[in-house]
Symmetry: C2
């Protein structure tokens, strides 16, 4: 995408899978990211492994605004993925909500 | 950018400015991001405000590999910006190094 500057809604946080389920949770979240390609309010949805913890998956999101992010969770495909992911999730932590001001890659 | 999937080097963390200097530090980091536009190994460099702390600035980076990230810090323009930023930085925290596997926006 072109270089941009503005004020967007960012959210970054860590999911911890139940033991051994990090790769399965990672796969679900990558599918969630793919499903968001068609959503113009979702500017970024990155899924990362944590080299220090095989059961941890980090997600970094940037949206045009917080309401669009919240609304996306009600989408039918998103709800199906959330239902699939929930039994694999032991916890969530390190969540920060940010005002993303710009940079390279937005 | 097009949708991509692979394994990249991600780093995410918080800079805390000396009191009142959050906006000045944010400006320097946005200029750093602009300077990285020409670096093909830098896939993402986002600068965010923290709504909970006016002196905090978060940076989220994705690089093709860790060595490219490390090498970028030796660039002359980067060194000048680091020198400008250093007196404004009270601390760094919440740093995580990640293996970014894909998603939307890479």
């Amino acid at each position: 995408m072109a270089y941009n500057q503005g004020m967007y809604y960012g959210v970054h946080g860590k999911f911890t899978a139940t033991p051994g389920n990090g790769p399965a949770l990672l796969d679900i979240l990558l599918r969630a990211a793919e499903g968001l390609r068609a959503n113009p309010d979702c500017l970024l949805y990155l899924v990362s492994r944590d080299p220090a913890d095989a059961d941890a998956v980090w997600v970094s999101e940037v949206w045009t605004n917080a309401a669009a992010h919240q609304g996306s969770l009600d989408d039918e495909a998103a709800r199906a993925l959330i239902a699939e992911a929930r039994p694999l999730i032991a916890g969530m932590s390190d969540r920060v909500e940010l005002q993303t001001m710009g940079g390279k890659g937005l």
